[in-house]
Amino acid sequence: MNFIEKLCASYGPLGNEEAVRDIIADELENVCDSIVTDVIGNLICNKQGSGKKIMIMCHTDEPALMVTHIEKDGFLRCAPVGGFTLKNQINRRVLTDNGTAGIVSVKKELEGEPVWGEVFIDIGAADDKEAAKKVDVGSLFTAQSAFLKTGKIISSKALSSRLGCFALCEAVKRAESENDLYFVFASQSEAGSRGAFCAAARINPDIILGVGACRADDVPGEDGKIKLGGGPVISLMDKSLVSSENITKLLYEILSGKSYQTYIGKESCSDAGAAALSGTGASAGAVLIPVRYKGSDTEAASYDDVLQTADLIKAFTERA
C-alpha cells in the first residue's frame, strides 16, 4: 500500500487519531528536528529556522459514530460525533478500532426523514452479551471504504482530511527554509477545530496557513465553480476566516502562471480561523484541495491537485 492509501485507510475518529499520527510520524521521523504529540492529540513537527515562525496545518481526524447503547438483541444505538450527514450513512459499512465491522441502517417502514434515534448498527451479534465482548458505550465507528482509483480521480473515506496530511507531509520532506516551521497535524477538527486552536496557543506563530478541503461542484446539475483538476484553491473567505491580504498576495504570486482556483463561501474548509483566534494573533490564510461528495465516505479528488498543493506549501514556507 502506498503512503496516500495508508493515510486514507487509517482509523482516526476525532479524539482518537493515534493511528494517523503514527503513520505520519514514521514518515517524517528523519526530516524534522522534533516531533511531539500534545495533550489534545496534535502531532507537531518542527523544522527549526531563524526566520519567521510559520504554522502550517491540516487535520487528521474523521467523523465517527459513538455507541450510546447496546440493545438486548445485540444491535447498537449510536450518535454522530463530528460532521456525519445521516442520509449518507444509511446502509453503509463502518469499522471500530478493534476491527469490529458493522452496517448502519434503519427499519424499512420509516415515517418521513430518518433521525439518529432510529438508526442502529448491526455487528452480527446474537445478543447484548455477545455485542458487549466487541464494543462498549463510547466505542467509535468510522466509515469503511476501499481506496479507489478510476480515470483521473481517487476516492476514499476521509479524503478531505488525509489529502491535506499527504500534501503537508510531501511539503515537509522537501521544505528548505530559513523560517522556523511548525507543521501541525491537528486533532479534533470535526469537533470545531479544537486541536488547531490549542496548537496555535502553544506555538504562537507569526503566520498561519491552513491546508483543508472545499466542495467541488463540477458535477451534473451544479455550477462547477470549483473543479477537480483545476489546481489548488486559495481560500479568500470561509466560515471562520477572511484570509489576510499578505498571505493571499503571496499565494497568488507563487501560483502565477499556474492553474489555481479561489474560494469565497461560508462552509467550514480549514482550521485556520480557529487558529487565528488563538495566541496573540497572526496573519492567516488557507489553501484548499477540491473534493467531490465532501462529507460522504466516497469523497473524490484529483491526485494532480494534491501534488500541486504540496508544491504550493513548499514554496510558501520558503517565501513567506
Binding site: G15, I40, T68, E71, G117
Partner: protein, 333 residues
C-alpha cells in the same frame, strides 16, 4: 451540607450567596478572582505538578427584563430551562422578595393556547405589587430570581432539591479540599457554567494545571414513557463517567483511571449514554494550549427544574469515586 447548599440562590453571574457559604466552610487558603470564582489551594508534598478540580456554583434561573405598568415582571431565562416547568412556580429574589410565575387562567385561554406549551412571552413573575411604582421599590431590571425547591427525602434512597446541578459538585469539592495530596491541588468553584463557562475558562488559564476533573450533575431520563436507549443515565446506577459530549472528548487516561478506581474499590459506576450536553470541561480542555480533562457526574432527574431528584447511593458512589481518583491522580499527571 448539600441541603444547605441547595437552599442558596446563585443564578449565573449572581452567585454571592453561594460564594459566601463556601468561603465560610473552607479551611485552606483561597482567593476570589475577578470573575467571582473561588480558587482554593492545597499545597502538595511536591509542587512539580498540578491537579485542578472544578464545580460550578451557579444554577439556572430567571432575570427580570421589564417591569410592566401593572406591576408584573417580564423575564428571560438564564441558562437552559424548559419553559413548561415554570408555570405557577415560586421564585426568590436576593432580597428575599418572593414571587410566583403566572400564566393566563386556563378558562380564559383559547383552545390553541391550551394545546401549546406556554411561551416565555406569555409568562410573568407576580411579586404582589399593585403597579410599576410599587414593583420598582423592590426590583430592578437585571435582578435575578432563583427557584425554590426545598431539600426533602423521597422513598428509601432518594431525595429532591433545586440546583442539585451543581451543588453536588460543590459539596464534593469541599470534601476533597479537606484532604492532603501528593501534588498541588486547586479547587475551583466556578461561576457562569450555565451560560458557557467564562469562569472556568479564566481559572484554567490562570492555573494551567496538568489535568482537570470536572464535578457535575448530569441528565437522567430513566422515567416513564422513555425507552431504555434514551435513558442517558439511570438513577441508582452509580456515579456517571461521560466519554464524549457536545463540548469535549474526555481524556482517555483520566476516564480509564476513573473506571479503574471504581472497579478496584467496588464503586458502582455508569456511562453517560449520549453525546449531548456540555460542561465547564469544554472551555477548560482548550485553555492554556490544551489541558487533560474528564468529568465525573451525579445522575439527576428533572435537572434544571425547581425539583430535581437524585439517589443517595449514587451520591455516596460519586463522593467516594472523586476521592479515590484524586488520591491516585499522580498516575495521570
Amino acid at each position: 451540607m448539600l441541603s444547605e447548599l441547595t437552599a442558596l440562590s446563585g443564578v449565573s453571574g449572581d452567585t454571592g450567596e453561594v460564594r459566601r457559604y463556601i468561603e465560610k466552610r473552607l479551611k485552606c487558603p483561597y482567593e476570589v478572582d475577578s470573575k467571582g470564582n473561588i480558587i482554593a489551594y492545597k499545597k502538595g508534598k511536591s509542587s512539580s505538578k498540578r491537579l485542578m478540580a472544578v464545580a460550578h456554583m451557579d444554577e439556572v434561573g430567571l432575570i427580570v427584563s421589564k417591569i410592566t405598568k401593572d406591576g408584573y415582571l417580564e423575564f428571560k431565562c438564564v441558562g437552559g430551562i424548559d419553559e413548561r416547568v415554570l408555570v405557577s412556580k415560586p421564585v426568590k429574589f436576593k432580597n428575599s422578595l418572593y414571587g410566583v410565575v403566572g400564566l393566563k387562567a386556563v378558562h380564559l385561554q383559547s383552545e390553541e393556547e391550551r394545546n401549546a406549551p406556554p411561551r416565555l412571552s406569555d409568562l410573568v413573575i407576580d411579586i404582589g405589587a399593585k403597579d410599576a411604582k410599587e414593583a420598582e421599590k423592590h426590583v430592578r431590571i437585571g435582578d435575578t430570581a432563583a427557584f425554590i425547591g426545598d431539600y426533602k427525602k423521597m422513598g428509601e434512597n432518594r431525595f429532591t432539591a433545586k440546583a442539585l446541578d451543581d451543588r453536588v459538585g460543590c459539596e464534593c469539592l469541599l470534601r476533597l479540599l479537606e484532604k492532603d495530596y501528593e501534588y498541588d491541588f486547586y479547587g475551583v468553584f466556578s461561576d457562569c457554567e450555565e451560560i458557557g463557562g467564562i469562569g472556568a475558562k479564566c481559572a484554567a488559564e490562570k492555573i494551567a494545571p496538568d489535568a482537570a476533573l470536572v464535578l457535575e450533575g448530569t441528565t437522567c431520563s430513566d422515567t416513564r414513557g422513555t425507552s431504555e436507549k434514551d435513558f442517558v443515565t439511570r438513577l441508582g446506577g452509580g456515579a456517571c463517567i461521560p466519554v464524549i459530549d457536545r463540548s469535549m472528548i474526555a481524556d482517555r487516561s483520566m476516564t480509564s483511571l476513573l473506571k479503574r478506581c471504581a472497579v478496584e474499590n467496588g464503586i458502582k459506576w455508569q456511562y453517560k449514554k449520549t453525546t449531548a450536553g456540555g460542561t465547564d470541561g469544554g472551555v477548560i480542555h482548550l485553555s492554556a494550549g490544551g489541558i487533560k480533562c474528564a468529568v465525573l457526574a451525579l445522575p439527576v432527574r428533572y435537572i434544571h427544574s425547581p425539583h430535581s431528584v437524585a439517589d443517595k447511593r449514587d451520591l455516596e458512589a460519586y463522593y467516594l469515586l472523586a476521592e479515590k481518583f484524586t488520591e491516585r491522580a499522580g498516575e495521570i499527571l
